[in-house]
Amino acid sequence: MRVDLPTFRAHTRAALADQLLQQSIENASGNFSDGREKALGDLPDSEALRDQLKLIRAATLANLTEHLEEFERNATAAGVVVHWAQDASEACEIVIALAKERGISQVVKTKSMVSEEIQLNSALEGAGIRPVETDLGEWIVQLAAEPPSHIIAPAVHKTKEQVADLFSDELGRSVEADIAALTAAARDALRGDFLSAQMGITGGNILVAESGTLVLVTNEGNGRMVTSLPPVHVAVVGIEKVVPSWEQAEVWLSLLSRSATGQPLSIYTNLITGPARPGELDGPQEVHLVLLDNQRSSYLGTQFEEMFGCIRCGACLNVCPVYTKVGGHAYRSPYSGPMGAVLTPLLFGKGQFSALPQASTLCGACLDVCPVRIDLPRMLLQLREEQVEAGRLPWLGVWVERAAAWVMTKPKLYRMLSLLARKFGGTRLAKLFIPFPIPEISQQTFHQLWKSRELEE
């Protein structure tokens, strides 16, 4: 996968031409943003809470190993089997081995961006195991054989009519393009999978070190079924999701859903501390937790450490003037929008995803809404600087910018060129060569006006 400037521009053109997509993103992002604003407004001091969460995340990342080890100790004591995966393929291998050892051929899943990151579904399918997505949005994109386009609303790019067509094909009967009817159809279709699957796979929103608890936030109740009906529950979670204490997890939770969907809390907040206890009727017999590194630890102590404070709420996507025009698919990564423009090159290759740090006007709207106040514009700039240093940009553009910058350091030369440009027809000539609209230059520069008599007092 390569997403360089020409590729991203092609994705942009396709997205801009898709009226349905434009409408879907505009509606959803507007609703999410309005909801966020209202929900944060209901708190006595959301600004102070954001400051607090930023501090919590930074302090945790500064001592990540220690907190992960504490988590591992306490989770193990609660009966969880903790696995460590260095990269995507190792994580997939662990999950596949767990399934194979138990003769499992079908798994149910909740929405998990980490599972998208490691492409778990295709790895499972390759090993002959059928994954069934049970989050409504994820099920929709799974049926459409598409990746999710928003980190919290995977099918945000689809209209209900498109969903009705997908469901009708899948179920072999006509399903009405009505939200209630669609939800009922999905519930009906997925029930059998919940009951028959031998393994449930989830991500995880927070890992609480002091008790070894996995916090899983969902809105549809599917998370509760995935983690309690099948006898085996496997969670794959990025190592950055740990928090030392419950007191701190509370700050995190009070901002997560408010920032994401505008809810004070999501409908279901599952706190999972180990498998079912002896004598308990519900819950899995085994809980496995795969802690995924996949490049994360290599950025600790660097200027990109801050990125790993991200709690994946998606607020930055909803306010981004670029994301809301191009949609998630243009980024060709599970992580899109401003957070994705930084995280994707870090995780999947700065060379492969060279367009993403350029896909921003550095307007700063993302920083305005980030519950962790992650300075995404600063890191986008940092990535751009590295691109210049590493020679990853088209040479012509680099040469033009270097030349322009050099001229700017020579005021007399700059003024001479200004006069020459005006002598030779202004921008008319330049317009023949420049592949984007540029303005007409004025007949006289301000410098000339100042020197003429016009501005004498």
């Binding site: 670029v322 307007c363 910018e401 322009a404 984007f436």
Partner: protein, 243 residues
């Protein structure tokens, strides 16, 4: 009492494309009693290069400007974006060079965006009857409202000059300019400008006004002359001349 020596940093875009904005700024500054000094060797604040990753080049320009502007009592710039570059980014650029950092901080402390500076002289500036002029809608430029936190200043001046403000939806949504962004992602830049202009039109105001030459350019490129889009200095100057 000696007049305040205000160094005018016009910005390269005003120099090349909007010299009339510079002229309006000079008149406004003189109206509030400043001695306007135009350092002739000024070129660019360095932001386009800084924002596209050419940090070394941006530092060269920053150093040049720090020298050029050091004797000013105040530096006034008709651009929120260029002001933010000098005030917010210059000190960061020289964080590791104590001598230059000190100078950068001194410059940052006396550098003002135009409307911010003019807000100190509301008693002198044209105070037309409220709503005696047309209705305008104000576009907040990203760096001006987010880096400099200037949202009320331009609006206060417009109102004291008799304009009424009809706010557009999301006045602080980016217009799509983004410096070099508009050359690298032209389709996207265009689409963002279209959305901005549609919202400006929906506000019902006759004139779209902004305090940043970059936004002015982006919006004018897309308006095909159908909408009147002006720099705030031009509007204030109009009011001044009708006094």
């Amino acid at each position: 009492m000696a007049k305040t020596k205000v160094y005018l940093f016009t910005t390269c875009m005003v120099d090349q494309v909007y010299p009339q904005v510079g002229v309006a700024v000079v008149r406004l500054l003189r109206k509030v009693g400043a001695e306007v000094i135009y350092p002739a060797d000024q070129v660019c604040c360095g932001q386009p290069f800084f924002n596209s990753g050419f940090t070394k080049e941006a530092k060269n320009l920053a150093e040049q400007n720090i020298d050029l502007l050091q004797d000013a009592d105040a530096v006034v710039i008709p651009s929120g974006s260029c002001t933010a570059m000098i005030r917010v980014e210059y000190p960061k650029l020289f964080a590791q060079q104590p001598a230059l950092l000190e100078k950068a901080k001194q410059l940052a402390a006396k550098t003002y965006e135009l409307t911010e500076f003019l807000n100190n002289f509301l008693e002198i500036l044209p105070l037309s009857e409220p709503n005696s002029r047309g209705a305008v809608t104000y576009h907040d430029s990203c760096h001006m409202c987010r880096h400099l936190k200037l949202r009320d200043e331009p609006r206060t001046l417009l109102q004291s000059s008799g304009f009424s403000i009809q706010e557009m939806e999301q006045s602080d949504r980016c217009c799509g300019f983004g410096g070099v962004f508009f050359t690298r992602m032209p389709e996207l830049s265009h689409a963002m400008a279209q959305q901005k202009l549609n919202r400006a039109t929906e506000s019902g105001a006759e004139v779209v006004v902004t305090a940043d030459p970059g936004c002015l350019m982006r919006m004018q490129l897309d308006s095909d002359g159908k909408q009147t889009i002006k720099h705030i200095a031009e509007l204030l100057d109009e009011a001044l001349r009708c006094e």
